[in-house]
Symmetry: C2
Subunit: 545 residues, 2 copies
């Protein structure tokens, strides 16, 4: 017998239409370059998406064509998030923080045909325009609706293009397996690799994000995405927000702590996403510039391990919970979320922080294994480590046009994340380290992440990174780099740091005196993660010189 | 270009495995026939499902075979909810409240091969056993694990069958489109019609039920399903609960208010589902038997319109919100949910109740239209009425083996619900009436549902039903049947009721004096809905005699 359910395709068109039909009155707010706020409703947003689809049709965009964005977080970017995929084309979000050669490599590899770019980012594109051989049209997005001077060609202006079109409600019938978006991983080694998302993956991921035990996004939320829309679908938050009619507040170009805090206060933001570094900066800012951020009820944080000290600061100062997530570009990106289970609500603070410091349980839809070198699943005992492997309806099955793709998947179809992790008896996952970030000293492993977490709990330390340096006797030894809080640099002597770490680690694990460095900032990748490659390189260069 | 996401199938197997991997410690509690409570964990549940799958294999169950249940709400029923579909077979939940001829019709129409039946329900099956020509095996579920005397044959006992099997982790690879379950609609006219659910539909429906703006089911919930597991997947609650690791409390055989309230208090139930009649009875019971039900945080109510008076009672007495749902067997069953939108939280109580008294906004995944007789979509203005039509990934596309199926669907593939409804400017749907429940008096429509709601707000009235009676002059006139609260029967005179309705309706709409009846109970269908067919029949018979 066959099932007798409708063959209803899960597409972004369904999400878009729902926002217009069920939540036409809800607002979308954008901070413009001049600091003023632009606001319109989902109803108006919908009409503009229809016009934008007509613009794309007029430009000759065909199903499967790649249409790229090079933009900050704003409502126009959200219009592209829907218009491009709902037409059957593929939204390719280019990372605005990439080096020129990476940018041109990615745009060419993806065969981008049109790039929609913010006017304040044009110089970066102009620099590489000769390399952008597949691009046949640039469209500039500017708040004033005028075209700035640029060497890009051919070039058009966004608002003028929209103004020339009618809003026509004509959606192609799309299969849910059709490609909707793509994003390149910003790996710290090798060439960037392209992930191609389906409509189905983005739809299911949106439902998941709205589940109560995941991100719990709801209509009543006012969402400020401090994560970038050019990175991993902005953690899937925009699509989930539109699905459930949440109000969104876009921070616009190059926001700093002052602007972000201002938006939180003025728009009564309830839900906010960002990497630990941003939250650390925001906290520091608030210490000297107190503002009312009491509307915040849910902070989600990921990208790198969330230090206990950061969670504690927000708990104690603002009474708001930072929920840790783990995800990857290859996972659309949600993989795990660290919500305390029911019985853990009765635990003491230390035990709770220990769990919240882990990356959490697999979200519904994502299955997790940790495999040893022979591909054998390891027990979930909190101690056995192995490579974290995942599968699910929003997990990549291959990289785009990449012959080395197969190495990232097991023979039976699980994605190999490259992270080394444990699963504990309560099914909480903890990333030990990227395989390449483990430090092997005298044949024993030292976890750089654990040591960084310990250092960041020190009141004088803002950020810390621990990397391996070559060592003749032990093969590798840990080196600790610390960023002091303002004015504390002098207090962070080798003796202080050594003694502090001795409280938490075995003596053989603690970096030798002489292996500590006080620095101004930890180098970051283009998506805000610690870039340890740079630190290792600096160390080697300092030895060589 | 193709998308590059895993071809991961959305099946109940994934939900089952998640509960075992992520929430093995969470409990399932069942009230047994002797009043004691049985409890075990999802981890133990999983092992028993594995054994049950082996039992089914040993019985020769093949993919697509129908395996039926005839049972109350209990953990064994939940084991069957998973073991049957995860094997590729089809779980057919038989309604234990059907008349014998309906029961045998349905079991034969579905070609049930095995029936798992509660020992305390055997007499109903014995009565029709000669008609159950496709059934080749009965399995009796009894708390004592012994086989009671029965004429059913061949017959086996559940616990003995399980005890003879090992837990073997062998799941067939299932396509998400494979049939997983079926349920017959308990329509008040014509033969019952079978709906066949796919794994995909049940999986997506479970995600939807856990979304924050839908049922918001979460791990921390303690769920008491007072809706029947034999009806419309128990509103999808069991599958959603297992997906998110919520604790479940099953009320077991034939629960009354005393037992239900006892379970709520003892197990600290947070989430509870039921039709308005049950909540009304529960409230009445609590008035004379006060208990601590303060753990309740979310009551979901549907099946028929939820009277304002009922919501008000729970708001004012217990501070717990009754959320109204609308669904149908053909929708797995969730269609709309009546959660106040963000801005409505600032409204006055009357305006809020007016919205909460509607059936609410379409849930993510379900699209809604109201169509006039020519199939033309009507505006969402709160006044234009039309037939409610829906589509979505968990909406039926046809009835099983039913040549009249096509009449229930529009040419472009929407399901025609048979309900007449309005959509208002805030996208809240309100059922006016079943097409056949509208009263046409002098060419104008009178809504029986609105009149019933008005009557039920009267302090002396527990329940009310309004039906059409034939009338020579006006074609039809409304007749009102009211069930008094205890001791109030004498006060409900025709004069009192007439004057009361005049406050809310135009004079021509109000039933004439002489057209009111005080009755002991409103006749109900097998799933607890008002059975107006019976009232109309009684009226005609009383005129004839």
């Amino acid at each position: 017998m066959d099932s007798l359910m409708m063959d209803y395709q899960l597409t972004l068109t369904g999400i878009l239409r729902r926002a217009k039909e069920v939540y036409p009155e809800r607002e979308l707010v954008t901070r413009l370059e001049d600091g003023s706020l632009h606001r319109y409703t989902y109803g108006e947003f919908y009409q503009r998406v229809l016009k934008l689809m007509q613009v794309l049709r007029a430009q000759g965009v065909k199903p499967g064509d790649r249409v790229a964005t090079f933009a900050w977080n704003h409502a126009r970017h959200l219009e592209l998030y829907f218009a491009v995929p709902c037409l059957g084309a593929v939204l390719h979000t280019l990372n605005i923080r990439l080096f020129p050669d990476q940018l041109s490599y990615i745009a060419e590899h993806a065969e981008d045909q049109i790039i929609f770019a913010d006017s304040n980012l044009l110089s970066q594109l102009e620099e590489v325009q000769d390399e952008l051989k597949t691009v046949r049209q640039f469209v500039v997005m500017d708040d004033s609706g005028t075209l700035p001077e640029t060497t890009l060609s051919p070039v058009a202006e966004y608002e003028s293009l929209l103004a020339a079109q009618e809003a026509v409600e004509a959606f192609p019938d799309l299969n849910e397996q059709a490609p909707a978006a793509m994003c390149y991983t910003s790996g710290t080694t090798g060439n960037p690799k392209g992930v191609v998302y389906s409509h189905r993956a983005l739809y299911l991921h949106s439902m998941c994000a709205c589940m109560n035990d995941v991100l719990a996004i709801k209509e009543a939320d006012v969402i400020l995405p401090m994560t970038s829309m050019f990175h991993a679908n902005c953690w899937g938050i925009p699509y989930a927000a539109v699905m459930t009619g949440a109000k969104m507040v876009f921070p616009g170009p190059n926001p700093h702590s002052a602007e972000l805090v201002d938006l939180i206060e003025r728009e009564k933001v309830t839900f906010c996403s960002g990497v630990p570094t941003i939250w650390n900066m925001l906290y520091q800012y608030l210490q000297t510039n107190p503002r009312n951020v009491s509307s915040l009820s849910n902070i989600v944080c990921g990208g790198s391990a969330v230090p206990k000290s950061l969670m504690q600061k927000f708990d104690e100062t603002y009474g708001v919970t930072i929920t840790q997530l783990w995800g990857m570009t290859e996972l659309t990106p949600l993989g795990t979320v660290s919500q305390l289970k029911n019985d853990m609500m009765e635990w003491g603070a230390d035990e709770q922080y220990a769990m919240r410091g882990k990356q959490g349980v697999p979200v519904p839809g994502v299955e997790v294994r940790i495999l040893d070198n022979d591909g054998k699943p390891q027990p979930w005992d909190g101690e056995s480590i192995g490579e974290l492997c995942v599968r699910g309806p929003w997990v990549a099955s291959a990289y785009y046009n990449n012959p080395a793709s197969a190495a990232s998947f097991t023979e039976d179809g699980w994605f190999r994340t490259g992270d080394v992790a444990t699963m504990d008896t309560r099914s909480f996952m903890q990333i030990a380290d990227r395989t390449k970030d483990l430090i092997k000293s005298g044949g024993e492993w030292i976890s750089s992440v654990e040591m960084e977490n310990a250092l960041m709990a020190h009141p004088d330390i803002l950020e810390a990174a621990v990397v391996a340096r070559p060592d003749d006797q032990w093969d590798e030894r840990p080196m600790a780099y610390v960023v002091p809080v303002e004015g504390a640099g002098d207090r962070l002597t080798d003796e202080v740091l050594y003694d502090f770490l001795l409280e938490h680690f075995a003596k053989w694990q603690v970096p030798y005196k002489g292996d500590y460095r006080v620095i101004d900032a930890v180098p970051k990748t283009s998506v805000g993660k610690f870039d340890k490659k740079v630190l290792r390189q600096q160390y080697l260069e300092s030895r060589a010189s």
